[in-house]
């Protein structure tokens, strides 16, 4: 599944075309989270989305990550129109194509580390044995082998962050989506995370990070920076990129 960097083609991996997202449409609480966004992301890129909170970063990530569907406009993933697919198909894309790292990690707190890696992939057609083997390899990579049976609740912040990353890699996804991954980390852990992301990028994965952490922004890892303001692109120049 992994798409290598040197295969950056002229076709974008993800194409967001004139997309708007409106919450509570037609009601008094109507929120225009995104307006007419167009964006292309190519395989092998590391894209940083920046902008103040409420600028629509998370909404854009959830649209790209197939967690929700746009109110208007079209999204293409590897040339496939995904913006109008039924939810079941979107869920399948999520578990096969994307690895997610959330702001609060969003781990299952009362569940062991191993099960945290396994449960999200239960619907996949993968046999249990393969899943387990893969989880154990990942735990070793992230030096979590001795915590395999520990409940997430009992882990330190750094360990939780590593579990979250390991979980994102369970299905060996070509695209990693990270939403404010450093929001709750100190300088040391932030550096550690950046190192890990650099490794993932070196493996050929496309990475999309939403962040307003300057450390991440100034990292050499980032190949393109896209700024959002009030649900619109602040700098239309950067919406294409790639070449």
């Amino acid at each position: 599944m992994t798409l290598a960097i040197d295969h950056i083609s002229s076709r974008p991996l993800i194409r967001v075309d004139e997309v708007s997202k409106i919450y509570h449409q037609g009601k008094p609480a109507e929120v225009r989270a995104l307006q007419n966004i167009s964006l292309e992301i190519f395989a092998g890129e590391v894209v940083a989305l920046s902008g103040p909170s409420g600028s629509g970063k998370s909404t854009l990530l959830s649209l790209i990550g197939c967690m929700s569907r746009p109110t208007q406009g079209t999204i293409y993933l590897q040339e496939r129109r995904v913006s109008r697919l039924p939810e079941a198909f979107l869920a399948r894309i999520r578990r096969e194509t994307y690895g997610f790292v959330f702001q609060q990690y969003h781990l299952l707190r009362d569940v062991s580390v191993l099960d945290n890696l396994l449960f999200p992939l239960y619907p996949a057609a993968m046999p249990m044995k393969t899943m387990r083997e893969r989880a154990l390899v990942l735990l070793e990579t992230f030096s979590l082998t001795d915590k395999e049976k520990t409940k997430v609740r009992r882990l330190s912040g750094g360990e939780q962050q590593r579990v979250a990353l390991a979980r994102a890699l369970m299905a060996d996804p070509p695209i990693i989506i990270a939403d404010e991954p450093t929001a709750h980390l100190d300088a040391e852990l932030t550096a550690e995370l950046l190192t890990m992301l650099t490794e993932l990028h070196a493996e050929g994965r496309t990475i999309i990070i939403a962040t307003h952490d300057p450390v991440v922004h100034q990292s050499s890892l980032i190949s393109r920076r896209v700024a959002l303001r009030h649900g619109q692109l602040a700098d239309a120049e950067n919406s294409r990129g790639g070449q």
Binding site: T71, L85, F89
Partner: protein, 335 residues
């Protein structure tokens, strides 16, 4: 009215089934009215999620319907001592005019529900779900059937009086009886056996042909053959297969074989027959509906699975029903 625990359980479950279906019907109405797959609105999203509710409700309804079908047969068997002349479930059914109608409707509902689920499965596997409107309109048609089922059960059970004199399987299915059932069942074994096996062979040949070729005509022929097989098999069961199963020259009850003293042989028999009929009906039924590319693709993918299931059903049915005929000591045909 007989206040029998089984009867109460049946009426109770049927009411519940109707309630579940009414909920599903309410959602179905909304979906038929507001469905717009091109829209990205919140309403559409909500409707999409409700389709899962309806699908699950329907699965439960079918599951419960199957359970109550067996409960009905058990109850009929259980209450037969209350009627003079009844020696098995057949006798209880004859106690009242609507008895057979209840059974018929219940079987029909199981088939209709299973077909709906197959259609739903097919539709949900596609990205554009082209069958949504039709599916939910069909669902609405199921509601009166289930209501009728409940009402007929009420009529049947409330009309039952202990000590009623009924006729049992021996006389109902005997050659002297009148009506379609006895004419079918009263067929001499010498004619009945070759006819039944002719239908089985026809069905099997068509099934294999369908597995090999994709022509629509074959699907349609198989559909007809499946209907034929279903009724021919029921006739065969009461007219001669039951005699072999019970090893008695006069006992022709199609329900007793579900009981423990016949080693529950009825379950594989009826399961096999149900599978052979349903899965052979499905390709012929779905072909005309597969109007879009996506549906056709899905259908091509699932058809071989259905046909193999039908083949398995046929084997199961034949092996479990004809076992005694081939290996049992009772001989009806002079050798």
């Amino acid at each position: 009215m007989i206040l029998h625990p089984g009867i109460l359980a049946l009426l109770f479950s049927s009411t519940l089934i109707l309630l579940l279906l009414l909920i599903a019907g309410g959602v179905a109405l909304r979906i038929v009215r507001h469905w717009n797959s091109a829209s990205g609105s919140a309403t559409q999203l909500q409707l999409e999620r409700q389709t899962w509710l309806v699908a699950t409700l329907l699965k439960y309804v079918i599951g419960f319907q199957i359970i109550t079908l067996f409960l009905l047969l058990f109850t009929l068997d259980e209450i037969h001592p209350l009627f003079v002349g009844a020696m098995c479930a057949t006798g209880s059914l004859n106690a009242n005019l609507v008895g057979w109608l209840v059974l018929l409707i219940k079987i029909g509902l199981v088939f209709a529900g299973a077909m709906w689920l197959a259609l739903n499965y097919l539709d949900q596997r596609t990205e554009d779900t082209p069958l949504v409107r039709m599916k939910y309109l069909l669902l609405l048609l199921l509601i009166p059937l289930v209501a009728l089922d409940l009402w007929l059960q009420w009529e049947y059970f409330s009309g039952l009086r202990p000590q009623m004199i009924t006729s049992c399987c021996g006389s109902l299915f005997s050659a002297e009886g009148e009506g379609v059932i006895s004419t079918l069942a009263g067929l001499p074994v010498k004619q009945g056996v070759p006819r039944f096996f002719a239908v089985v062979v026809l069905y099997a040949v068509l099934l294999l042909a369908n597995l090999r070729w994709r022509a629509v005509v074959l699907r349609n022929l198989l559909f007809v053959a499946a209907v034929l097989l279903f009724f021919a098999s029921l006739a065969a069961l009461v007219s001669f297969l039951s005699l072999y199963i019970y090893q008695l020259p006069s006992h022709q009850c199609p329900f007793d074989m579900l009981q423990g003293h016949y080693y529950y042989i009825g379950y594989p028999i009826y399961l096999g027959l149900f599978m052979a009929t349903l899965f052979a009906l499905l390709p012929g039924l779905c072909r005309p509906l597969a109007t879009t590319n996506s549906l056709q693709q899905e259908l091509e993918r699932i058809e071989p699975v259905w046909l193999r299931l039908a083949l398995f059903g046929l084997m199961l049915f034949l092996v479990s029903s004809c076992w005694q005929m081939v290996f049992g000591p009772l001989q009806l045909l002079g050798s």
